[in-house]
Symmetry: C2
Subunit: 256 residues, 2 copies
């Protein structure tokens, strides 16, 4: 079952990626959601529709939580739930035509089973699942070293860093350096490859769901920035890091 | 002459890239320069030595300004001067094994003639020269739109943004979003492709020399953050942007 599902999801992501790449050569309809820097395009919506159609054909009884309209809330995580971000990093998609991801997660009764993060233009697919391990394309990744905060790079939300929300500026300065990609998927892949030690941001469930499944497999720690369980509902300040860096961030900055 | 030189430089960069990629699979010697986040590796130094050897063989009378030891200052820009960064983004090179560039510029009596920025792991070479245009690999780029500050993404030095040096935080918030890659070459390529409208950082001559040749070709404006000519000597706060964004940044934030 799981193997069949993995093959299906990879196929759907490839199909979605072809659609997105094709759309880059045509005029896009860009509109604002909550403000001038929160964008959505027809391509986000059509990619989501494509993925939802696939899921409904194969798994009609499953529930779906997804970024764009009509699917952005869910009553509970009971049963099997698909959590989808059709284009994570829409601003980058519009401005750079690169540095965006498709993300898909499969949860069962609140437990993350499968996660897929696809950096479309780099053609880099990071995927895996509970008890399966984490892969980059065909290659099985090894668990990153448990580095401390001062020993690695930290992915960051620019606004939190600039405004020092929840000590984000001090946390950033205590690391080896802050990186801002504007795409949660890219930051999560960087952690899973061992390139970054952590990520501090303000995220919705579809931004972190696939990442959590994979982070869990490598024993990274994650929570809301207050140390609570993530709610899978609305935006929350998000912290994920190596166990060593996570505990340092908590004790030195957040729980003082 | 120019065409021969372009072919030579591209060949040297490819050779340097092969050397760097090979070195990724061996143990690296990492040491600190001015502080814990200012790193240099044996690969930086050996890559610089490789490039300098090529230049000295072909152009023994030319002068060289380069990041690593023995070459980091120059008496004047008179004559033909090669300005080299063997690995721009050494922190990324060490931590991520990607997101770093090789950069080479050729100046004659202070005038930028040729510029090459090579994102090694992405295999993306942005190059060109005075009167030649700007290319990405074999493809000639078109001049990016003259967008204003609020219409595009801005590359930023994280420290300047976090500490609000020269209004960097306000400038960042007025843009569509801030991106921090930790590599000047990547930020400059993003501007030349039209993905970012500008770049605010703290740079040495080898960080900006190749970029200036290419920015000039596309009529971007650049200067120190105070609006002075860049000195090609030591680190300086650096601003480059589309004409519209550059003038907005000056009048709304820097010259008030």
């Amino acid at each position: 079952m799981t193997e069949k599902m993995i093959t299906e999801i990879k196929g759907w992501m490839q199909e979605a990626a072809v659609f997105i790449k094709t759309s880059l050569s045509t005029e896009m309809a860009v509109s604002q959601k909550s403000g001038r820097t929160d964008l959505v395009t027809n391509v986000d919506e059509e990619t989501q529709a494509l993925l939802i159609k696939k899921i409904k054909e194969q798994y009609p009884a499953d529930k779906i939580l997804a970024e764009e309209k009509g699917y952005s809330t869910i009553d509970s995580l009971a049963g099997r739930v698909w959590i989808i971000d059709p284009i994570d990093g829409t601003m980058n998609f519009v401005m750079e035509q690169e540095n965006f991801c498709i993300m898909i997660a499969v949860f069962e009764d609140g437990i993350g089973k499968l996660g897929f993060i696809y950096d479309v233009m780099k053609d880099e697919l990071c995927w895996g699942g509970k008890g399966i391990g984490v892969f980059l394309g065909e290659q099985k990744l090894i668990q990153p070293q448990n580095l401390g905060l001062s020993a690695g790079l930290l992915g960051m939300n620019a606004y939190m860093f600039g405004e020092d929300i929840h000590c984000a500026r001090e946390i950033g300065h205590a690391s080896m350096g802050v990186r801002v990609s504007g795409c949660a998927g890219i930051e999560l892949i960087a952690m899973l490859k061992g390139n970054h030690i952590g990520y501090v941001s303000n995220l919705s469930p579809w931004d972190y769901a696939a990442g959590l499944v994979l982070l869990e497999e490598f024993n990274f720690l994650y929570s809301t920035i207050e140390g609570e369980d993530l709610s899978f509902s609305g935006r929350e300040y998000f912290l994920a890091a190596t166990p060593k860096a996570y505990n340092e961030i908590r004790t030195k900055f957040l729980d003082k």
